[in-house]
């Protein structure tokens, strides 16, 4: 059975969308990194959330998460890599798992930075976003892991365990990184090669690599869902939170300024309710279709 609604992202927008869709009795799956990795969690004090000044971001998020959990939201820790439209549902790939939902709400936050030079050109020719997907193809070969997400060291260890020769690139050597993995301090990055990737260039110095794994916090919405319309770098939505794709809604920072908690929670509410309505309409039209077929 597919979920009624899959929410991508577990920040304030996603959690607000989840509780509002649950209030309409929809089954809801929230896929996200650990919510404690949200930038809000590190905010010492939030003073502009109505009626609740002086709270820490952590206290707020803890409360939001508990609230969503108590409503019966299903949580899955992981990174959504792709969303594929099927006939009347969307299929989401989450690491090595797959889930299906009738509507999707994107609450992915602000996309972290631009693509690196060479990234788009070498996608599928050495550039990968998923160590568990593509790691096996690089066994016994040199690879570079660009660690931009908290779970990146784990993924690097996984690659090393497969037999890849891993170089890890990040601001500082992370704890828990396999001692056998060499580390290079991150700088200006460029992916270079000819037919396929041959190296990761860091501040002008090449680290030989046949694979470059770019492990970011989240996959940008347009890479998740080809065909999604953007506006000024953000996901384009109408006042109902509808994107350019049917059954796909968006809320929070990924839809644009201001990047504020109250706006995210409000948009999450709108998207959660509208997505629930969309699912109801879908069910109605399916019922009508099946009655027609029965005649």
């Amino acid at each position: 059975m597919p979920y009624d609604i899959a929410v991508v992202g577990g920040g304030p927008a996603g959690l607000s969308a989840a509780i509002n869709a649950r209030a309409r009795n929809k089954s809801v799956l929230v896929v996200s990194n650990d919510y404690r990795e949200s930038p809000l969690y590190r905010a010492k004090q939030v003073d502009n959330y109505l009626g609740m000044p002086g709270q820490s971001g952590a206290a707020l998020l803890d409360a939001f998460y508990r609230h969503a959990e108590e409503t019966g939201t299903v949580f899955r820790t992981g990174r959504v890599l792709n969303i594929l439209p099927l006939d009347s549902t969307y299929c989401l790939s989450i690491g090595t798992e797959v889930e299906e939902a009738r509507a999707v709400i994107l609450c992915t936050g602000v996309s972290q930075g631009k693509k690196f030079p060479g990234e788009a050109a070498f996608l599928g020719r050495g550039v990968s976003y998923c160590a568990t997907c593509d790691g096996m193809l690089y066994r016994s070969r040199p690879v570079a892991v660009v660690g931009l997400a908290p779970d990146a060291p784990e993924e690097a260890n996984f690659l090393q365990g497969l037999g890849c020769r891993v170089t890890y690139v990040s601001g500082r050597r992370p704890e828990g990184l396999d001692p056998a993995i060499s580390w290079v301090k991150a700088g200006r990055l460029e992916i270079v090669g000819e037919e396929a990737v041959t190296a990761l260039r860091v501040n002008g110095t090449d680290t030989p690599a046949e694979g470059v794994f770019l492990l970011r916090h989240a996959v940008p919405p347009t890479d998740l869902l080809p065909g999604l319309t953007l506006e000024g770098g953000y996901v384009a939505v109408d006042r109902e939170g509808r994107t350019s794709l049917p059954g796909v809604f968006a809320a929070g920072d990924c839809t644009g300024l201001p990047l504020q908690l109250a706006k995210a929670a409000g948009e999450g509410l709108v998207a959660g309710q509208r997505a629930a309505e969309y699912v109801d309409q879908l069910s109605d039209s399916e019922k009508i279709d099946s009655i027609k077929k029965g005649e």
Partner: protein
């Protein structure tokens, strides 16, 4: 069976002998590949008798994956008379694959 599961020895025979073939390079441990599986099955059924639609498990057929430079999965490669005419890396909607098939049939 409309979707063929090919190993190295069958690959040349089936793919080279067909005017048009579409091969999905995949693996059991790849989430996006699982997602694409029903799409490939569907295309296999629709193009039965018109084009060869096949799958290659890259884990069991590493030499084939290496030969065709498959470096990210899923990768779907299109062949005409055994020669590669295009490839699509990553999961794409069914229409992306059928357009390429239709253009070459």
């Amino acid at each position: 069976m409309s979707v063929l599961h090919l190993n190295e020895s069958e690959f040349n025979e089936k793919v080279n002998s067909s005017p048009v073939a579409m091969v999905d390079f995949w693996a059991t441990w790849c989430g996006p590949c699982k997602m694409l599986a029903p799409v490939i099955e569907d295309i296999g059924a629709k193009y039965d008798g018109k084009a060869v639609v096949a799958k290659v498990d890259v884990d069991e057929n590493q030499a084939l994956a290496a030969k065709y430079g498959v470096m990210s999965i899923p990768t779907v490669i299109f062949f005409k008379d055994g020669k590669e005419i295009g490839r699509k890396v990553g999961v794409q909607p069914a229409s992306a694959y059928t357009q390429t098939l239709d253009a070459n049939l």
